[in-house]
């Protein structure tokens, strides 16, 4: 027994090393963004507060450009509204479509606007921390978009902050399709560049061109159909020859994210309960 204790003391550094390595590996393996592990992610209050302060300061840097972009967007939207109003007027007179449209649109609603307090782009798994949490009513599984397209999905919520799995995270797979066709595939990030992602499992016979738009398919319960994701950059054969894999240039610029919108699908729980059955 004494010998054992002497042995342990003589080699204590190796034991300490093994203990710390074990703790780290347990942390490493146990962390799952879908579980509520508030403490060890940036949605915890200390890191969240700190990032808020830093973000208040650095937020001013890109304001001019964002303002310009917003103005442009605003003009475009105003034009669109005018056009849509005219179309709606026409349709109204043709059919009694009004009720149908309202029902369709109200399934997804804008939940609110939030500000990212921390955005990572260079890690293998990237997350975004938002300054809205459960006290504001944010729930796990809500979608996050900004003015240029899809940003991610909320995975963890603390009292005042929430953690978003961004598209730049291989743990997120998004169902999307070529705009104008009904063929869909799933979008994943390959981990190399924050500007590109890959659209896999698109049937081989689907025709597409460089520059075609990729939008959400509406098959998931998070995003409605038709939200912009990016444009086709180039195509490559997948290992399985029946499918194409497209390199997609993401429309969201994670380096200059600005304010984001949280959206909520009212029928989400009902949709998901069907899947469980």
């Amino acid at each position: 027994m004494r010998r054992l204790i002497e042995f342990i003391i003589a080699h204590s550094s190796i034991f300490v090393f093994v203990i710390y390595v074990t703790i780290s590996i347990i942390l490493l393996l146990r962390f799952n963004p879908y579980q509520e592990s508030i403490f060890f992610n940036s949605a915890n209050s200390i890191a969240g507060k700190y990032y808020s302060v830093i973000n208040n300061i650095s937020g001013y840097v890109g304001l001019r450009e964002i303002n310009n972009e917003l103005q442009q967007n605003n003009t475009e939207l105003e034009l669109q509204v005018a056009q849509l109003k005219a179309e709606l007027q026409q349709l109204k007179s043709e059919n009694n479509i009004e009720e149908f449209l309202q029902g369709e649109l109200s399934k997804t609603r804008l939940f609110g606007v939030a500000r990212p307090v921390n955005v990572t782009t260079v890690n293998a798994n990237n997350y975004i921390t938002l300054d809205k949490g459960s006290t504001h009513g944010v729930k796990e599984g809500m979608g996050v978009i900004n003015r240029s397209g899809v940003v991610g999905i909320i995975s963890t919520v603390s009292d005042n902050y929430s953690l978003v799995i961004s598209i730049l995270n291989p743990k997120l797979r998004l169902s999307c399709k070529l705009k104008g066709s009904d063929y869909f595939g799933s979008l994943t990030w390959e981990g190399d560049s924050p500007e590109y992602a890959k659209l896999e499992e698109l049937p081989r016979h689907v025709n597409f061109n460089k520059g075609d738009t990729i939008v959400t398919s509406g098959y998931s319960s998070v995003f409605p159909e038709g939200i912009m994701i990016g444009v086709v950059e180039e195509a490559s054969r997948q290992k399985n020859d029946n499918f194409n894999a497209l390199k997609v240039k993401l429309s969201t610029d994670y380096f200059r994210l600005g304010d984001v919108c949280i959206i909520e699908n009212i029928d989400r729980e009902e949709q998901n309960s069907l899947m469980v059955k």
């Binding site: 550094s13 300490v16 390595v21 200390i46 990572t120 260079v122 293998a124 798994n125 981990g191 190399d192």
Partner: protein
């Protein structure tokens, strides 16, 4: 040889961690080279400090950074591995260990060439550990090698800068 006070080390750790999470980890030159300046804290701990204490401090610092990055375990594990290798590395670059009882590693105490070797192998150990751990969820060998090499060089450069800036102030 002069010893550094505990207050100095606490201040150094806080400043380096804040710099690391606010600015440095967002740099990533060409998307690959990340400077891990907080290693400077682990490097500067007194030579005579027991490996157990060094590893404990490295674990705490690593865990703090993990908390900011939502990457529990990644930085903690890499820091502990680096701290574990610190003793062998110091023995490697020191010629007469007896003379260095109370000192902390610096260019002045070790000499430029040994300190360079010390900084380079420490940076390399950490970069290798952190990127290998991250690549378990995302395997890309070419990018892994590139990230390790460029980050080692970048970290080494920024640690040497810190060494010279802090030396002039005293």
């Amino acid at each position: 040889m002069k010893r550094l006070s505990i207050a100095y080390y606490i201040l150094l750790a806080v400043v380096l961690i804040l710099l690391q999470v606010t600015i440095l980890s967002n740099i990533a030159l060409w998307g690959v080279a990340t400077p891990f300046l907080f290693l400077y804290f682990i490097m500067k701990l007194p030579v005579s400090m027991s490996p157990n204490k060094v590893m404990t401090l490295a674990f705490i610092v690593g865990l703090t950074i993990d908390m900011f990055f939502s990457t529990p375990g990644v930085y903690a594990l890499s820091s502990v591995i680096t701290a574990f290798m610190r003793r062998p590395y110091i023995t490697l670059v020191l010629q007469h260990e007896d003379d260095y009882g109370n000192m902390y590693p610096s260019v002045k105490s070790l000499g430029l060439a040994p300190f360079t070797v010390y900084a380079l192998i420490t940076s390399f150990t950490f970069s290798l550990a952190v990127f290998v751990i991250q690549s378990f969820s995302l395997y890309n060998p070419l990018s892994l090698v590139l990230k390790v090499i460029t980050s080692t060089i970048f970290t080494y450069m920024i640690i040497m800068s810190a060494e010279y800036i802090l030396k002039e102030k005293r």
